[in-house]
């Protein structure tokens, strides 16, 4: 029987949708191999977030609420996760892939002497064991793997798992005692430089408009990529080339070493299609590419390719979409 702990992610109390995909993974394990799952929320002032987790079929919503956890610092969070895993005798710890989970879950795994798999896209029962599929080599290889040991940790790609259907019944909320004095405090938070954006997060959007080196400066990016995105209610993304040249912030980078997304529609505007970029978006349902080079590799994976200059085609697209 699996006892699963799903680490819920939130941004200042706002739940990340990917958390529900992680719960979907947990449900899939339970359906295949039996078991139950709990959510674990860490932070402070979590009442609303906890409420938002009560209709997803969890046995319990565990809440570790402490002012010492207001910032998601790895040393503290990993300690609370490891303590909770031991107290609840959990056998499987799950989170959705993000910089939050990448920071804390491997640390918690090592505290528990547990093996961990990143970027899991599927799970199956095989005899008494679970078999996982995960992505490696910038999306060019899928590995089938098993994990030894009494406790397993996995980070799952949110696009690969559907959220659980909402339940009538409400999961009970339980407080997890946090011994604030005993938490490790190696790191101290100073500040966060977030750009407040009215646009949706790329990992949660149905449509993403993404720009590459073709965009010559931040104003052009904002006008063309941002403009088209706003018209469609879409998120914006960018290649690494633009992040490196300071035109876009790192939080917009899509790819092997940025965000991995799988929206319904992805516009690649002036992006060549390097394998490291494609690793972050090739599970998109429909890819539309505009590039002036007819041989750009992006056309090899695009559903619809238009050979054109983005400076001409995008304003025309915006104009004609109004009608």
């Amino acid at each position: 029987m699996n006892r699963i702990l799903v680490i819920a992610e939130h941004d200042q109390g706002h739940l990340k949708l990917a958390t529900f995909a992680a719960a979907g993974f947990a449900q899939k394990v339970c359906a295949a191999a039996g078991g139950t799952f709990d959510f674990l929320l860490l932070g402070s002032g979590l009442a609303a977030a906890a409420e938002g987790l009560r209709r997803s079929g969890a046995a319990a919503v565990l809440v570790a609420d402490s002012t010492e956890l207001t910032q998601p610092l790895a040393d503290r969070c990993a300690q609370v996760i490891a303590d909770t895993v031991r107290a609840r005798a959990a056998t499987l710890v799950v989170a959705a892939t993000s910089t939050f989970s990448k920071d804390i879950l491997p640390r918690a795994a090592a505290l528990l002497d547990a093996g961990m798999l990143s970027d899991v896209i599927d799970v199956r029962r095989e005899g008494d064991d679970l078999t996982f599929r995960r992505v490696m080599f910038a999306g060019n290889v899928i590995a089938t793997v098993q994990l030894d040991g009494p406790i397993k940790c996995v980070a799952v790609r949110s696009a690969a798992f559907a959220a659980p259907a909402a339940t009538e019944a409400l999961s009970p909320v339980e407080a997890v005692a946090v011994d604030a004095a005993a938490l490790p405090k190696f790191a101290e938070f100073i500040s966060r430089e977030t750009k407040v954006s009215a646009r949706p997060d790329a990992t949660e959007a149905r449509i993403i408009v993404s720009g590459g080196r073709a965009l010559k400066n931040a104003a052009d990016f904002e006008r063309l990529v941002g403009g088209l995105a706003d018209q469609l209610g879409a998120a914006v993304g960018s290649s690494r080339a633009l992040v490196d040249s300071g035109i876009t912030p790192n939080s917009l980078q899509i790819g092997q070493t940025g965000k991995v997304v799988a929206p319904d529609l992805y516009f690649a505007l002036g992006i060549s299609g390097a394998i490291q970029h494609m690793a972050g978006m090739k599970d998109t349902k429909v890819i539309a590419a505009i590039n002036k080079d007819p041989d750009a590799p992006i056309f090899e994976i695009a559903d619809y390719g238009l050979v054109a200059d983005v400076y001409e085609a995008v304003p025309e697209l915006m104009q004609k979409l109004k009608t």
Partner: protein
């Protein structure tokens, strides 16, 4: 001050990855290998900190077969002072890598460890965080700016997260993992290569360090993902809109 920089040997990021016919591994014949790009960034940062603070010994370490000496020599040619090869034929997973690195750290007692945030072959993004946990030290992942403070007893870092840049301080020793924008690694120079040949390269084994490189991960099979097929070329913006609206129905 001593800085420890783990390096991993990985296929060059520009090589096309091919699988062996039986799916047991990747084809390594004719593949060019390199230092994991994130590890080059970590080493570059160690070199720059040495340039800033005056004195530091930089030790590069890798876990793997004889062939990994090549990447250690690259590290020495970039400017590291000495190298450690922990020889094993096992394919250690991130936890096993972290256990071996922890043993090396106990022996070497570095002021801090800086390493890549992820190896670009297996893409796990785990080893640094696990190492920090095993050593009972703090960690800062995805570092894009590093400044040593308080007489090298603390560090002030910026890190890249999904939500933007985060600024933190941390007590040293600690484990830091490097992100892409921390710096631009230098090229290896010819005099650097000549000097590297004379620098010490020590060989150890997991056994001699009193740890095991055995993995909890068992890779059963590798496959290619179902590829995407190229779609169609459209000639005009009008045609693109029509396809997205009426064929794909995504607008």
């Amino acid at each position: 001050m001593k800085i420890l920089v783990p390096l991993k040997r990985v296929p060059d990021p520009d090589t096309k990855i091919r699988l062996k016919a039986d799916g047991s591994g990747i084809e390594t014949d004719g593949v060019k290998f390199a230092v994991n790009p994130f590890d080059s960034i970590a080493l570059e940062e160690a070199l720059r900190q040495r340039e800033k603070t005056g004195a530091a010994e930089i030790v590069v370490v890798t876990i793997g077969g004889e062939e990994c000496a090549e990447q250690l020599r690259t590290g020495l040619a970039m400017g590291a002072d000495r190298a450690i090869l922990v020889k094993t034929t096992a394919n250690p997973d991130s936890l096993a890598v972290a256990k071996v690195l922890a043993a090396v750290c106990r022996k070497e007692q570095p002021a801090f460890v800086i390493m890549g945030k992820q190896a670009i072959d297996d893409d796990s993004n785990q080893a640094g965080q696990m190492l920090a946990a095993l050593l009972g030290l703090g960690q800062i992942t995805f570092v894009s700016k590093l400044e040593l403070t308080d007489g090298n007893r603390r560090a002030r870092c910026s890190r890249e997260t999904d939500a933007g840049i985060e600024n933190l301080t941390i007590s040293l020793p600690a484990v830091l993992t490097a992100d892409l924008r921390l710096n631009e690694p230098r090229y290896v120079s010819l005099p650097g290569i000549m000097k590297a040949k004379k620098k010490p390269l020590e060989e150890l084994t997991p056994e001699s360090l009193g740890v095991s490189a055995a993995s909890r991960t068992r890779v059963l099979k590798l496959e290619r993902p179902a590829g995407r097929k190229a779609g169609v070329r459209v000639k005009t913006v009008d045609e693109l809109i029509a396809k997205l609206r009426h064929e794909a129905k995504v607008l």
